[in-house]
Amino acid sequence: MTMLAFVRGPAMQVATLILIAGMFWRLAGIFLLRRRVAHAAARNPFAVRLLGGAVTVFTRTMPRRTFWPRVGAGVALSYVFHIGLFIVLFGGAPHILIIHEIFGVSWPDLPKGAVVVASGITLAALILLLIRRLSHPVLKMLSTPDDYISWVIVFMPVLTGILLSGETIASYGTLLALHILSIEALMIWLPFGKLMHVSLVFAGRFVLGYNVSRKGAAT
């Protein structure tokens, strides 16, 4: 069995099963955790609390103006990286093709050149974020192995994707195998590290906003 056949077959199946099991494990674990019983009467009716949760999902997309000088660079780079990754993931023709094969839905793809440029910008943003993490004393102190592992796990698919699009360094088959393998590594790691925020970030903000609204505080 060639490496490409392996990553397109058994490895793909194992990675997908681990991703699914891991995601449900994390979500079920969080959902079933014991919660404090709120004895105080709610300050806002249910509809307002829901609205508070929904509003928080958006208001927390930007830091308070006071913090911009300190965290602005990091936030901006993070946005560049996330938007770039979104464009690559949902604009690249092969990626749309996979989504279509799995879920039966598709949409027009972006020109390959646009996706390559987005990949390059994403890669540059990732590198700058790592430099910032390593050079910022507080951020460096707060960093855990999860941060670095997650960085590598995200960096590799973008890097191998760019190499694959240019078909340089190695043959198409080798680069494709490496690209798929790096994505499978991401799939396996995703539920168990900070990358899980993919499925928790908006829900977390909503719950926060809902609880704050219940207490009658501004969201």
């Binding site: 069995m1 060639t2 490409l4 056949a5 990553v7 397109r8 077959g9 793909m12 199946q13 997908t16 099963l17 681990i18 699914i20 099991a21 891991g22 995601m23 449900f24 494990w25 994390r26 979500l27 079920a28 674990g29 969080i30 959902f31 079933l32 955790l33 014991r34 919660r35 404090r36 019983v37 023709a93 092969p94 990626h95 093709l97 996979i98 094969e101 799995i102 793809d109 972006l110 020109p111 390959k112 050149g113 996706v115 043959s171 198409y172 088959g173 494709l176 798929i180």
Partner: protein
């Protein structure tokens, strides 16, 4: 002068085929073999001085498609190869003799050219159950291969079946089909895969061997680099559409009519090494992609069993299926629930926390 002592130059001169004609042929072959043009005179000289190369061709577990296609080679024709450059001493489908006469011919040819003949094999070698699934004259193919390979100068594994097992090796491979290189490890082997292989590739390899007395440079899968050094994708005339992201979505959509890239329809050109896109088929008429169908990857090992089949793009793969995914989800929920309940028992109940 006997036929075996006569050089190719003598024979061609006797037929009125001059040095200029041989040089023109050598120039064409050096181009085909991706050799420097300056080697053409040397090739012509070597060819003129060479004696006809003995080739013993054994057909194993195969469909005769390889031989069919090789009979239709155009440059040079297999007929001219047989009569001019090689001495095809044994080939069951082409020779007049049969039965014991054919077997006698085989043994005489082997004895007369011991250590010098090229052993050409088409078809896979079934090894399960002692190789009983493919017999010639009551003998298992694997037994014949093991008998005739040691005295060969080199082995040509012609077609994907002989090279890697091919279609007979497809899952579940009931005959235990393997390629020649899986049986013979101590002989120079050239794999010329393809289902069928490109005839001009065989011609090129034979001419190179006759000219220089050695096999051409090979890649890591023992394929002639001159023909298998690049992928179909690299030389495909639809490649610009791939680079522009223009893909046919079905075989009859506007993209297909415009001749756009067939990647999304399962074309295996990017991972398939062969010369189809440059040498082409039927005297250079076209090749599968030019006819509107994606490459099947027939010159690669196990092409029949590739993940997702012929019409799944290389970007995709084979996922676990909805049932297995459901089981994984259920297992995840069970694990998560168990972890949550374990955590509940480890921590102090929030409602029973004592005020500070």
């Amino acid at each position: 002068m006997t036929a075996t002592e006569e050089t190719l130059g003598d024979m061609l001169a006797r037929r009125g085929f001059g040095r200029r004609g041989l040089l023109k042929f050598a120039i064409a072959m050096t181009a085909s073999l991706a050799l420097p043009p300056g080697m053409a005179p040397a090739m012509a000289e070597n060819l003129a001085a060479a004696k006809r190369q003995s080739v013993i061709w054994l057909s194993f577990q195969e469909c005769t498609g390889c031989l069919e296609t090789l009979l239709r080679t155009s440059s040079p024709t297999i007929a001219s190869l047989i009569f001019d450059f090689i001495s095809l001493d044994y080939q069951e489908a082409l020779m007049a003799a049969s039965g014991s006469a054919a077997e006698l011919t085989l043994r005489q040819a082997v004895a007369a050219n011991k250590g010098k003949y090229l052993l050409a094999i088409d078809g896979s070698v079934p090894v399960a159950d002692g190789g009983v699934y493919s017999l010639t004259g009551g003998r298992a193919n694997v037994s014949m291969l093991e008998e005739f390979a040691p005295d060969a100068a080199a082995i040509l594994a012609i077609g994907t079946c002989a090279a890697y097992g091919g279609i007979p090796k497809a899952y579940p491979n009931p005959t235990g089909a393997v390629g020649v290189e899986d049986v013979i490890a101590d002989k120079p082997i050239v794999n010329i895969p393809g289902c069928p292989p490109i005839p001009e590739v065989l011609s090129g390899v034979l001419v190179f061997f006759v000219s220089f007395g050695r096999l051409p440079d090979l890649d890591d899968r023992k394929r002639p680099l001159a023909y298998f050094g690049t992928t179909i994708h690299d030389q495909c005339y639809r490649r610009p559409f791939y680079d522009q992201g223009k893909f046919a979505k079905s075989f009859d959509d506007e993209g297909a009519r415009q001749g756009w890239c067939l990647f999304e329809l399962g074309c295996k050109g990017p991972t398939t090494h062969n010369a189809c896109a440059s040498v082409k088929w039927n005297n250079g008429t076209s090749f599968p992609i030019e006819s509107g169908h994606g490459c099947l990857g027939c010159s690669e090992p196990d092409f029949w069993d590739q993940e997702g089949g012929f019409y799944t793009s290389l970007a995709g793969g084979t996922g676990p299926g909805w049932q297995d995914s459901g089981i994984a989800a259920a297992a995840g929920i069970a694990g998560g629930a168990a972890a949550a309940f374990a955590a509940r028992h480890k921590t102090t109940k929030p409602d029973q926390e004592k005020p500070e």
